[in-house]
C-alpha cells in the first residue's frame, strides 16, 4: 500500500513482529548503538543529528541537534535526558503505537541521545493512562539491560546510561517540558518561567534535554543510514524526514500514517485515510493537534511541513490531523476543544486560568442560544488578553480553536446569536456581559 518507504513504522508492519528484543535485533536493531558508542565522539553524534535537520516531533518543532548543543560543554555534574511520552495533545496517538509496538526503537534512540549529551540517566515520562505502554516499556528495558544495551558499562564501552519509566498522573500540561520536569520532581506540573532553559537548569536544576518519543525513535535510523539520507526525505531543508500523522474524525480509515513531510492533507485524507466517512464534503480540519488553528478546504493542498502549515496560519504541531465533515457545527467543535483547555489549564497564570473559564461560559451561552453580538467581541478580547501573556505556550494554544473558527466561520456564531435574538424578543433581563 505505501508509496513511500516507512522508517518508524517499518518493523511493526512485518507479519509476526512482536517488538521483542530478538525481533528488533533481527531487523538490524541496536546496530546504530554498537557503531556509535565508544567508536564515534558524542559531538559527532550531535553533528550528524544537526546535519539531518531533525526537528522535535512533540509540537514545537525545535531542531533537535541545536537543542542538544545548548548544554554547557564544560559542566562536570550529572545531566539528564527526559523522553517526553506524555502524549496528550488531542488528536495525537502516534507515540502510543511507537512505544507499544516497537519499544526498543525508542530505547535505542534514548541511549544514543544519552551518549550524545553525556547523560547517565534517562526518564521516560509516560502519560499515566498508558498503563499498557508503561508495562511494555519496562519489560523492554529489562530485556535491553540484560543484553547490555542499557545500564552500566554498555557493551563493555564503559559508558553508563540507565533508563526508567515514570508515569504521569493525568495532566495535559505535563507535556510542556518544564512542567514535565516539575512533575518528575514530585511537584504540581506548573511550567517554569524561562530563562533559564532546561539545557542549563533542568531536572534537579541540572543540564537536561527533553525530547519527544518520535524524535528519539528517528535517531537510530539517522545514525545507521546517515544524515544526508534523512535530509533528503520530506521537504528539505527545513522539514526533513517523515511524520507519523495521526488521522482522526470523519474519515473512513482513521489511524497513523507515516509519510514524508510535505504530503498534503488532500493526499493524507483521500488517498491514505480512505476519504470522508459518509462521503460528505470536508468542512474543516486541524493539522497538528488541538493547539493548531482550524483550516478550511481551501487549505487542503497546503503541504504538511513546518513552514507551509505556519504560512497557512496554523501549525504542524504534533501531527494530529482531525477531519470534520460538512454539517459539523464549528462553534460546537471550538467549544469542545475550549472545554478541554479549560479543564487542563494548570492555574499558574491568571489570563489562562480565568480566561479559559470566561471563554467556556461565553461559548456555552452562544451555543445555548442565549448569546448576543457583543459576546463575539468579548471572545476576541479575551483571546487577545490570553495569547502571549502566559508563562508557557498553553495560552496561545487555548485561543486557537475560537480565534480560527471566528475567522473562518464567523457566520455560524452570528446565526446562533440571531436565533437567540428571535427566541428572546422580550428579554427577561437586561443585556450585559456577565460571566
Amino acid at each position: 500500500m505505501p508509496k513511500h518507504e516507512l522508517i518508524l513504522l517499518k518493523n511493526m508492519m512485518q507479519p509476526g513482529y512482536t517488538g521483542s528484543l530478538a525481533d528488533y535485533e533481527k531487523t538490524g536493531g541496536y546496530q546504530a548503538l554498537r557503531n556509535a558508542l565508544g567508536k564515534m565522539a558524542p559531538t559527532d553524534v550531535t553533528a550528524k543529528v544537526m546535519k539531518s535537520g531533525l526537528r522535535g516531533r512533540g509540537g514545537a518543532g525545535f531542531p533537535t541537534g541545536v537543542k542538544w548543543g545548548f548544554l554547557p560543554k564544560d559542566y562536570q555534574g550529572p545531566r539528564y535526558l527526559c523522553c517526553n511520552a506524555d502524549e496528550s495533545e488531542p488528536g495525537t496517538f502516534k507515540d502510543r503505537q511507537l512505544m507499544e509496538r516497537d519499544p526498543h526503537q525508542v530505547l535505542e534512540g534514548i541511549v544514543l541521545a544519552c551518549y550524545a549529551i553525556g547523560a547517565q540517566s534517562a526518564y521516560i515520562y509516560i502519560r499515566g493512562e498508558m498503563v499498557l505502554g508503561s508495562k511494555i516499556l519496562e519489560h523492554a528495558i529489562g530485556e535491553a539491560r540484560a543484553a547490555g544495551y542499557i545500564g552500566k558499562n554498555i557493551l563493555g564501552t564503559g559508558i553508563t546510561a540507565d533508563v526508567w519509566v515514570h508515569r504521569g498522573a493525568g495532566a495535559y500540561i505535563c507535556g510542556e517540558e518544564t512542567a514535565l520536569l516539575e512533575s518528575l520532581e514530585g511537584k504540581r506540573g506548573l511550567p517554569r518561567v524561562k530563562p533559564p532553559f532546561p539545557a542549563t537548569h533542568g531536572l534537579y536544576n541540572k543540564p537536561t534535554v527533553v525530547n519527544n518519543v518520535e524524535t528519539l525513535a528517528n535517531l537510530p535510523h539517522i545514525l545507521s543510514r546517515g544524515p544526508e539520507w534523512f535530509a533528503s526525505i520530506g521537504s528539505p531543508p527545513k522539514s526533513t524526514g517523515t511524520r507519523v500523522f495521526c488521522v482522526s474524525g470523519h474519515v473512513k480509515r482513521p489511524g497513523n500514517y507515516e509519510l514524508p513531510m510535505g504530503v498534503t492533507t488532500r493526499e493524507l485524507v483521500f488517498e491514505y485515510a480512505g476519504g470522508m466517512r459518509s462521503d460528505k464534503p470536508l468542512k474543516a480540519f486541524i493539522p497538528g493537534g488541538a493547539s493548531a488553528p482550524f483550516l478550511t478546504p481551501e487549505h487542503l493542498d497546503v503541504k504538511l511541513d513546518f513552514e507551509s502549515v505556519a504560512a497557512a496560519g496554523s501549525m504542524l504541531g504534533s501531527g494530529g490531523v482531525t477531519v470534520m465533515e460538512e454539517g459539523t457545527s464549528m462553534v460546537w467543535a471550538a467549544l469542545r476543544l475550549m472545554e478541554f483547555f479549560y479543564h487542563e489549564s494548570c492555574g499558574k497564570c491568571s489570563p489562562c486560568r480565568e480566561g479559559s473559564s470566561w471563554l467556556v461560559q461565553t461559548m456555552r451561552r452562544i451555543i445555548a442560544k442565549r448569546g448576543q453580538m457583543q459576546d463575539l467581541e468579548t471572545l476576541t478580547d479575551l483571546c487577545k488578553n490570553i495569547a502571549g501573556r502566559t508563562v508557557c505556550a498553553f495560552g496561545d494554544a487555548e485561543v486557537s480553536p475560537i480565534m480560527s473558527t471566528l475567522k473562518h466561520w464567523r457566520h455560524e456564531y452570528v446565526a446562533l446569536i440571531h436565533e437567540a435574538d428571535a427566541a428572546n424578543l422580550i428579554r427577561p433581563e437586561s443585556a450585559g456581559t456577565r460571566h
Binding site: P90, G91, L132, G170, L184, R336
Partner: protein, 174 residues
C-alpha cells in the same frame, strides 16, 4: 497495615530510581491507591514521612493530578473520552448508553459500588474513537453491543477480553 510494611521492597526499588526523594512521590501515591482505589489521608501522611516532606507538600501534588483519587470510586472506574475527536464520532452517545444502563450520571457511582462513570478529556486514542478507559485498560471503537458485553464481563468476571492490546494501525498488519 502501613504502606512500608505492605510494599517494603517495591518502595525501596522506587526510591532507588531517583537521586532526589521527592521524585518518588507520584509513584508512591499510585502505590497507596492500588488497593483501596483512592489515596487516604493516612497514606499521604505516611508518604510525607518516607520522603521527608510535609503532609501539605504531598497533598498539593496529590490534588493536582486527575488520576489520583482522593475519594472512593467504584470497583470499575469507567472514563469515557468526551474531547472533540471522540465527540465527532459519537462519544456523547456512548455516555448516554452508560447513563441508561448504569442508571447514573457522570461523576456518580452505582449503589452497589461496582461502577463509577466519568466523562474525561482526551486519552490519546483518537484513531479508535469512541473509546473509554476502565481502570488500567482501554476499550476502543465502542458500539452499543460492545459496551453491553464489557459491562456484563466486568459484572461476572471482573475483567473483559474486549480490552485493547498494544495499539496497531493498520490492524491487518498485526
Amino acid at each position: 497495615m502501613t504502606l512500608s510494611e505492605k510494599y517494603k521492597d517495591e518502595i525501596a526499588e522506587i526510591l532507588s530510581r531517583y537521586p532526589v526523594k521527592r521524585s518518588a512521590l507520584i509513584p508512591l501515591l499510585y502505590l497507596a491507591q492500588r488497593e483501596p482505589g483512592y489515596v487516604t489521608e493516612a497514606a499521604m501522611t505516611e508518604i510525607a514521612g518516607l520522603l521527608k516532606l510535609t503532609p501539605p507538600q504531598v497533598y498539593e501534588t496529590a490534588t493536582f493530578y486527575t488520576m489520583l483519587n482522593l475519594k472512593k470510586v467504584g470497583k470499575h472506574h469507567i472514563q469515557v473520552c468526551k474531547s472533540l475527536m471522540c465527540a465527532l464520532v459519537g462519544s456523547d452517545t456512548v455516555i448516554g448508553w452508560l447513563r441508561t444502563k448504569l442508571g447514573i450520571a457522570p461523576g456518580e457511582t452505582t449503589a452497589d459500588g461496582l461502577f463509577t462513570l466519568s466523562a474525561v478529556e482526551c486519552l490519546a486514542a483518537c484513531g479508535t474513537a469512541p473509546m473509554m478507559q476502565i481502570n488500567d485498560d482501554y476499550y476502543e471503537r465502542l458500539t452499543e453491543e460492545k459496551v453491553d458485553k464489557i459491562l456484563a464481563d466486568l459484572r461476572t468476571a471482573g475483567t473483559s477480553p474486549l480490552k485493547s492490546g498494544p495499539y496497531m494501525w493498520p490492524e491487518s498488519a498485526r
